[in-house]
Structures are given as C-alpha cells and as structure tokens.
Amino acid sequence: MGTSITRRRRQELIIGVGLLAVLALLPLPIHDVYTRNLIIITVLFAGLAQAWNVLGGYCGQISLSHALYFGVGAYVSTLLLTRAGIPPTIGMFAGGALAGLMALLVGWPCFRLSGHYYAIATVVVGEIGFLLALNWDWIGGATGINIPYRRAIGDSWLWLQFRIDKLPYHYAALAFAAAAWLVAWKIEGSRWGFVWRAVKDDPVAARSLAVRIFPSKMAAAAISGALTGIGGAIYAQYVGYIDPDSVLYGQLSILIPLPAVLGGVGTLWGPLVGAAVLIPLSELTRSYLGGSGRGVDLMIYGALIVLVALARPQGLASLVGVRVRAPAGADDAATA
C-alpha cells in the first residue's frame, strides 16, 4: 500500500525536473524585455507562494506577515552589500537566516493565538515592521536604498549584478523557486510534513499522537520565513532599489500567499499553477488597462480573485488533474 505513495512521489519529482528544464529554456527565444520581466516575476512569486505554503498550507497557519520576511531578506542582503561590501550571493543567505529568525520571533507570541486572532496579529506585526523601517534613517527610511552597479566588477554572478542582459536573474529566480519546490516536496515525504498537516487538521488528535504543536509551528515558520527572505534578497538585486513601500508594504503579505491559495493551498503544484495564472493576468491587465491610474486593472484583478476563490475553493491546480487533498484542512485551521 505504501508503494502508491512512493510511486506518486517519484512521478512528482520527474515532472518537477521536466518543468524546471522547460522553464530554463522558456525565456531563450523571447527577447522582449517586458515579457522576460513578466516571466521572472512569475517564477519569483511561484517560489514565494511555495515558501508561504510551508507555513500557511501544510501547517495551516494563515500568516499575513510574510512581507516582513521578504523585506528583512531584501534589506539585510542589500545593507550587507552597500555597507560592508559583502556579495549578495552570501548576503541572501544571511538575509534568509535573519528572516527565519524574525519568523520565529513573530511566531513566539503569535502562535499562542488561535484562528483570526493569529491572522490579525500577524498583519499588525508586519505593519509594525513597515512603520519602523519607514522611520529608521540608518536603513534609508522612507527614501530607501539604491543598489549601485559596480562598474569595476561588471556583470557578475558572485555580485548578482547584471546590466547588459537580465537573463541571469531568471536563473536566480528559477533556482530559488526550484529550491522552494524541492523543500515542499521533501516536506511532503518527511516527518515534518505529516506532523504539520496533523497540526492543521486536528491539533487535539495530533497532540494525542505525541506531536508537539508549538515547536512544529515554529519549525514551519522558520523554514517559510527563511525561504521568503532569500526571495526578497533576489528581488532586491533584480530591481536594484528597495524602500519600505516596495518590499515591506502590507498588501504584499496578501499577494505572497495569493497564488498558493488560488492555485491550491497545501499542495505541491498549487503555488506554481496559481502564480502562472495570476501574475501574468495581473501584470497584463495592469499594463493594458491600468494606464493613467484608471483602476480598471484593479477591478478585473479583484473580480478574478473573488471568482476563482468561489468557483475553485480547492485551487486551480485541481483543474489540471492534480491530486488535491480533501476538505477540512484550512477550514479547521481557521479555528484551530
């Protein structure tokens, strides 16, 4: 009986590797800067949504403070670069580590709260981070930080700076998304994955089976936060400029989980499918309809979110025949 699980997992890995190859080749025939940017952002969000999925999907904790971890990763790697001259390929792991630590710091008080109290508390924590960054001059305050292009070094993987051709950023984002996916795949087949889903479905029953709830949530938060932080660091290098309004703003904390939720929460493919549908749609509506601040893009985007959430509550991934875990899950999480 266990063989069916093993077989399924092997298939998933094969599909994952195949998809990685396709995504690696995808931007090659495309030279249009706009489309390439779209692909990079989509891949980045697939990774970010997967990172959120670890805590929000598998462990069922509806965290709305992921902008904070994203921002910490972006700021730490950027500050290490601009203030200490440490290359971002190292800095992003420092940023990830600190973001993970931040997630633990947030989790320590917040995981004592249940249901909506938890969700609201995470919103507030994220907002505190935003306001403090806005008022903290040493890290640039509201002005933000510009990441200068180092002419002496030129385009470099070590310094993650590419001016002539932005394609390498695609591979950086893809490596990040692949790593996040692999972490999720690994989790699904390991003790943590089972424990987290048990915590999500029924904490009382989980405890009766020797599951320690609080450390389990903390572990999920640390992994989720650290991955998100690394994503933030890559984003910072890609756009070359960060400020609280671009990497710490409250709405980002909803935009990060959105692909996971609409694609299929707590599933391996959900965040990917969600990002592939959602990000291009939102970018396209913004560029074709959002001109001169007309707001039509927001209307379409908002309506789309409502429609998908209502029509496919189990996620878009279920449309393409992906195995979707049954009810209860996140539902219980809201009250757990």
């Binding site: 509806i62 008080p109 109290y117 508390a121 008022n135 893009d297 927001l298 209307m299 985007y301 539902d331």
Partner: protein
C-alpha cells in the same frame, strides 16, 4: 507641556477613538455572527465617504443630512454582498477559512479599482458644511466641531446597536451566533439573519464614513488605514463583542494620540500596535472576547 494641552490631546484621542470604535463595531458584528473577517471593511468606509462627498458636491446638501440615506444605502450594499458573495463563500467545501479571507480581499481590490475608475486617485474633501472649520472652547480646550459631532453620532450609533441587541432581532442574532445549527430548529432563518447582520455592519461603517468625510480627505485607499485600525480594535476588544469594540476603540484613540504627542508622530500607530500585542499576550481572546 501644560495640563490643558495634554487634555486637549486626550480629548482629540477620545473623539477619534469613538470613530474607530464605530468602524470596528460593524466588523465585530459580522465576525461574531459568522466567523468571517471582512477584509473589504475599509472599502465600505471609503464608499460611504465618497457617497457623502458626491452628494455634497452635486447638491450642496450638508453631510449631516446624509447620515440616514448613506446608512441605508450601505445597509443595502451589505445585504447584497452577503447574498452575492458571502453566502457562497460560506458554503464551499474546501478551505472555507481561506476562501472567506480572499473573497473579501478580492472584493476590496475591486472596490478600490472601481473608486479609482470613477473618482480618480487624488484626494477629495468636503470643504463646506455646518460643522466645517469651527471649534468650540470648552474651558480652554478647543474642540473641532466636526470631530465632536462625529464622536456624538458614534455614541448614538452605539446606543442604537445596543438597543437592537435587545430586540427580538437582536436575540435572533445572538442565538445564531451561539449555535448555528440549532437556530434552524427553532425557526430562525439563518440566511436572513446573516444578510441582516451584514447590512447592519455595513450601515454602522456607513455612519462612520459620513462623519469622517466632514473632516478627513477621501481617496480610493483611505479605507486601508482605518481597516487596519479596525482589525486591531476588534481583536483587542474581542471578536464579536460590541462593548469590547467600544472600549478598545477609545483605548486605541488615546494610545495613538499620546504616542504621537510623547514619542513621535510618525510612530503613532506603532504605539497602539504594541499595546494590542501586549494585551493579547495576557488575554489571547481580547479584553472582552468569548468566542
């Protein structure tokens, strides 16, 4: 810093707190009834403010005259939102908790876009009204009339909400809140109660919107700030507790005013957030929460 000045700030915080409380009351009502956090709550406030602004601009009617019409319009909107979206969101088989969050979030984005489409994204304000630019002198403390009126209207609205709580409808609300399955057995139409709950919650935020429009600018994003404060207020007071929302609103208004005065104006919200987190450490269900 003189005592008068301190009192001046405290009165300002009190009046703002009453508005916060009224915005939170609608949110708390809807949550208590059906375990839904309405992430479009701020956008309902924004719509009420625009409605006030538009009618004032077109007809010159004083915002105070618009209290009842706007409240009724918002009531209808709340009922419509329930029937069109929330009834469906509550009946999904998968991920119910998250679907609710993201349906109301999607609605918020939609409404923001609609406001931007209709009114543009610049700030508007109601510049003339019976109350505008007047202050009254209360023993050396100068109180702006719009804020004072808003505070008084908020108190009246709370009195109204408490009074509704004592009617048969209020008892039906309470019963539905406590046992969603059992109410069907005693002949309460759950769907109707939920819809009225949404209507009432939206009407409360509508009243707050009209009063806020007399002294606060309107823009498509104005809801976000107030919504965040409303979430904090509701969680601090305890989800589902009307009295809790009132107390927490006042507390937050004061903390905000004093943080701005004593620490740093740009950190005024950090003060209230920290107080909120500190209270939740000791009372994880808020000050008066039972749910």
């Amino acid at each position: 810093m003189t005592l008068t000045f301190l009192l001046q700030v405290a009165v300002g915080g009190l009046l703002m707190g009453l508005i916060y409380a009224l915005v939170a009351a609608g949110l708390s009502l809807i949550f208590g009834l059906m375990d839904v956090v309405n992430f479009a709550h701020g956008e309902l406030l924004m719509l009420a403010m625009y409605a006030t602004f538009v009618v004032w601009l077109a007809t010159g009617l004083d915002p105070l005259l618009l209290l009842i019409p706007v409240a009724l319009a918002l009531f209808a909107l709340g009922v419509a939102i329930y029937h069109l979206l929330m009834a469906r969101a509550l009946s999904v088989q998968f991920n119910r908790g998250m679907v609710q969050i993201f349906v109301t979030f999607g609605l918020a984005i939609f409404l923001r876009g609609a406001a931007q489409f209709t009114f543009g994204s610049d700030f508007k304000s109601v510049s003339t009204s019976l109350l505008a630019n007047r202050t009254i002198d209360m023993g050396g403390i100068f109180v702006p009339l719009p804020q004072l009126a808003a505070g008084l209207v908020s108190l009246l609205a709370f009195a109204g909400l408490f009074a509704i709580g004592r009617t048969e409808f209020g008892r039906a609300l309470e019963a539905t809140r406590e046992d969603r399955e059992a109410v069907a057995l005693i002949g309460i139409d759950r769907d109707r109660i939920f819809a009225l709950g949404w209507g009432l919650g939206a009407a409360a935020v509508g009243i707050a919107g009209v009063m806020l429009a007399t002294f606060y600018y309107v823009s498509p994003n104005v809801g976000a700030t107030f919504a965040l404060i409303a979430y904090v207020t509701v969680a601090l007071g305890g989800f589902g507790s009307l009295f809790g929302a009132l107390v927490a609103g006042l507390l937050i208004g004061e903390v905000e005013a004093l943080t701005a005065l004593l620490i740093e104006p740009s950190l005024k919200q950090v003060g209230m957030f920290v107080i909120y987190l500190a209270v939740l450490m000791f009372r994880p269900r808020g000050l008066f929460g039972t749910l």
